[in-house]
Amino acid sequence: MEPRLGETSDEILLRRFLDGRKSALGELARRYEAPLLGLARGLLRHRDELARDAIQETWVRVIRFGHTFNGDAGLKTWIYRIAINQCRDLARLNQRHETANDDENKTESRASTTRPDNAAIESERDERIRAAIDDLDDAKREILLLCYHEGMTHSEAAAALEIPIGTLKSRLHAALNELRESLDREAL
């Protein structure tokens, strides 16, 4: 008896989708679309439209190039790799625009994430932390967000970034140190 979609592995779902069952893609999306969209929002600095575009394009690529998936890595890793690449591409494409309106965007961004009771100390601290994270360069920021992304192990993150896990850990350590130093400097 054929297992229900919810119990089926990602790879089998992809195969079924390629065989013509659209519902299999729906099940994959149910598993990964929300986390991917969250990650994309983080990577694209909370620009919601860009994040949606990135994930939509991710699914387009899964649909178009699903037949090239060779199973070397897990399907989840493969999809995340596509999503990260899409985020990078979109971020790069929007870099000029972003640079031109940098200050305005940052103000808008922070305003949008600022809570109404921002007078509270904790909120101020959180705001400083977010600002410090956003000030990190893209590579370090990407490592941090990916490593602390819900449900993502370090191994999966390393595979998604196509780097050895040792490299990932050292970069994560370096990124955290820089973030801490940045916060310390700001506190002083």
């Binding site: 659209k22 990577l43 699914w59 899964v62 178009r64 977010r130 602390y148």
Partner: protein, 453 residues
């Protein structure tokens, strides 16, 4: 050691990439988008798919191309180098080209295949229904509803005739393709039979016909003894259980001393379907003897004989020959007496002499040929083990069966030729196919690289 700030950093990082609360169902948008893109990129994806399986793709391509070529080749018979098989319409067209000459009328049966029903019409005979089989060892029948006897002449099967309302079954021991059938008028038959049958035995159908009154219309037979030159052709059809034995005995009837020989012979089939045929050339004076001996080898099913009086032709040739020789002598005499004539005249005389001598040689050859034909009569002996299959009467069922049989033969023929064409395309286009496979490999590699990037 983890500090409170680290915990907070971790918490904020998790919060920054937390699952989206809204459900935009982007995958459905992507599906529609991919569908639109797929239309735009259909060719590219098809190539990619094909490139993933280059060998299978190439094989499919080759087979599809070959089958297409074969189909086109068969759709246009001129391309395949095969002439269209005779159809009913074509047969009728052939028959309509009947020509009438002094000896009667004739039509060319060449190209007839299968069991094509013919209806022949001519001013000389009301009609003939002819069931012509184009394949060897098949039987046909000619029915005449005319009230006068009719002679049929087929070089491959000898001569025979149909009596009034008679039905004559015949077997074409050759393939029947390209065979010429001549149908003589009653007057021509009567004339030839009367003129040449002075030595025939009275047991054959020709003799029966003569005995039934035709002979009464004949001129005096004594004419035959007055130096008549007659070419005789007889056909005898025998039925015997021992076809091979009879076949061997027929060969022993010949006397080499008289210059007799077997022109051709053959034995076909097995058991009840075994048949044999021999064309004998026997001395004219021994024709009756040989026919009598043949009749003893089995049951005589059919027998006929015709004679072609070539006396007038021989006389004509002799007269022309004498005349040419006379002219030759005169020219020679002129050359002797006019040695001082201008060179141009001498050359003209020599030219004339050469022409005269060529004519003399040709006529001498014709006379010798006729003499051979007269001195050696031809007997076509047909031997078979069983009764011939009955001639099929035209009916809807027979038409259906015939059409089915023809369709099957055509189908099998087409299949065989198609396979042959496919093989020829496979081998002939080897370089082309290799180029296609190489291209597919290259495209696959390129598209894969593109996809991975």
């Amino acid at each position: 050691m983890t500090t409170p700030i680290d915990n907070r950093i971790e918490s904020i990082l998790r919060e920054m990439t937390a699952e989206s609360k809204d459900k935009p169902r982007l995958w459905q948008v992507a599906l529609r988008s991919a569908s639109r893109k797929s239309t735009r990129n259909a060719l590219q994806r098809s190539i990619l798919k094909l490139a993933n399986r280059p060998l299978a793709t190439a094989a499919s391509l080759i087979i599809a191309t070959s089958v297409t070529i074969a189909a086109i080749a068969f759709a246009i018979p001129s391309l395949s180098g095969r002439s269209a098989r005779a159809t009913r319409a074509e047969v009728r067209a052939q028959v309509s080209s009947l020509t009438v000459d002094e000896s009667g009328f004739r039509y060319d049966a060449g190209g007839l295949v299968g069991r094509d029903q013919l209806t022949l019409r001519s001013p000389l005979q009301p009609y003939y229904d002819t069931n012509v089989d184009g394949v060897s060892d098949l039987w046909g029948a000619i029915r005449s509803s005319d009230t006068t006897p009719t002679q049929f002449v087929c070089p491959s099967m000898g001569n025979f005739y149909a009596d009034a309302k008679d039905e004559v079954a015949y077997k074409s021991d050759l393939r029947g393709l390209g065979e010429e059938m001549r149908i003589y008028s009653a007057d021509a038959i009567r004339e030839s039979l009367i003129a040449n049958d002075e030595n025939s035995d009275k047991t054959g159908p020709a003799d029966r016909w003569l005995a039934n009154g035709a002979a009464s219309q004949a001129p005096a037979r004594n004419d035959a003894s007055a130096g008549r030159q007659v070419i005789r052709r007889a056909t005898i059809e025998l039925k015997t259980s021992d076809v091979r034995g009879a076949f061997l005995k027929v060969q022993q009837l010949l006397e080499v001393g008289h210059g007799e020989y077997i022109e051709n012979s053959g034995i076909h089939g097995a058991d009840d379907r075994m048949t044999a045929n021999l064309t004998l050339r026997v001395a004219a004076i021994r024709l009756s003897d040989v026919l009598n001996q043949l009749r003893e080898l089995g049951e005589v099913v059919n027998e006929n004989m015709i004679g072609e009086d070539v006396t007038m032709r021989v006389v004509d040739i002799e007269a022309r020959l004498r005349n040419e020789r006379q002219v030759e002598a005169e020219v020679l005499q002129l050359l002797e007496t006019r040695k001082d004539a201008p060179l141009e005249e001498i050359l003209k005389l020599r030219q004339s002499l050469a022409t005269i001598r060529t004519n003399i040689e040709q006529m001498t050859g014709q006379r010798e040929q006729l003499a051979r034909l007269v001195s050696l009569s031809t007997i076509l002996v047909l031997i078979r083990a069983g009764d011939p299959p009955p001639a099929e009467s035209p009916s809807l069922w027979n038409d259906f069966v015939n059409a089915l049989s023809k369709a099957w033969r055509n189908g099998v023929g087409f299949l065989g030729a198609a396979v042959a064409t496919i093989i020829s395309v496979l081998i002939g286009g080897l370089v082309f196919w290799i180029a296609i496979i190489a291209t597919l490999f290259a495209v696959r590699r390129r598209l894969r690289n593109k996809a991975q990037n």
